[in-house]
Symmetry: C2
Amino acid sequence: MAGRPRSFDRDTALAAAVEQFWRSGFEGTSIAMLTGAMGVTPPSLYAAFGDKETLFAEASAEYFRRTCEGVDRATALPTAREAVARMLEDTARAHTAASTPPGCLMLTEPRLAAQRADVQERLRRRLDRGVRDGDLPAGTPTDRLATFLVAVMRGMSGCARDGGTTEDLLAIAETAMTALPAPQR
Amino acid sequence: MAGRPRSFDRDTALAAAVEQFWRSGFEGTSIAMLTGAMGVTPPSLYAAFGDKETLFAEASAEYFRRTCEGVDRATALPTAREAVARMLEDTARAHTAASTPPGCLMLTEPRLAAQRADVQERLRRRLDRGVRDGDLPAGTPTDRLATFLVAVMRGMSGCARDGGTTEDLLAIAETAMTALPAPQR
DNA sequence: CTCTTTCTGTAGCGATCACTATGGATTGCG
DNA sequence: CGCAATCCATAGTGATCGCTACAGAAAGAG
């Protein structure tokens, strides 16, 4: 029943694919780049991950999973203001980390609009909770605010890809924070 | 001395190339797509515009020229606040115009970082003038503010590419305006 | 008209794209 | 061991990439 075991670690190879797609996007990444980065020959890649689209779906899902961990940690903070501030700071640092490609795969890749909408929705729900908790004034347009914040994070990603530093992105984050309505008193 | 005249209008063909690059970016646009959109065969394209990089340089320069017209109109407004508001509104409408592809070529294309830096610099200079005119408080971090505003516009472009409406982008613009320091009194 | 110059269309160049057929290598099971 | 199952490496599929050689068509100069 059991055949020859595969000679590479699937999770390690997937992580390499994530980084490659992160760096070059879906269209900019060729199978040859993937096999090189993953240390796997084309037939092994196709046997283990399916075609390029399927591999990208799995890689972007893994990326999204990691992203959501950070988002959940941020949204767990006591106030909406702290949650948003943490989220923007995390974004600034993650997009400019030396150990990973600049920018954000999820915010850059055209075909990941659904993931972006998901994050935006999580953000909006946290803002809604902030309104209920009194962190934000009643009547705060949480939907518009969430749309704005996702746009800002997308801009941060682009800035990082253009060579922007952590400080540049943190400055954007701080400036964006001034758009949050002051807490009700 | 004079040979056979070319059978197409160079400016019209260039405009078609601009739109094609605008829609699909540099890497996403093939010569076949360009020749199709421009109504020109490959040898004519190469004779009139050079290779793909050269054509893109000319097309993006043309796009940039049009963009700067709008930027200049906005920066000519009497106050920095009006200038920024106009610029963001123009951006919201331009990125969602029905007659052109969604989003912005200059803000989306990775290789146009120099043009982005140029616009950011123009914006910063207008903000500096605002400080001198008293439109903005003394000590306003105009450089950080300009970086922020370019990031927001880039986010608006991405939002438009994801299907965002003019209203969505105008909401982002309005929210971003609240990050501008109140005028000195 | 001929000659030169320039443009146009066909057709195809080598390279790379995503992807796979084939055959040998490596495992567990009996 | 033999057998079935699974994976690996070579090599190559047709399609498309950016780009161009070639030959015919259309203009002015003489």
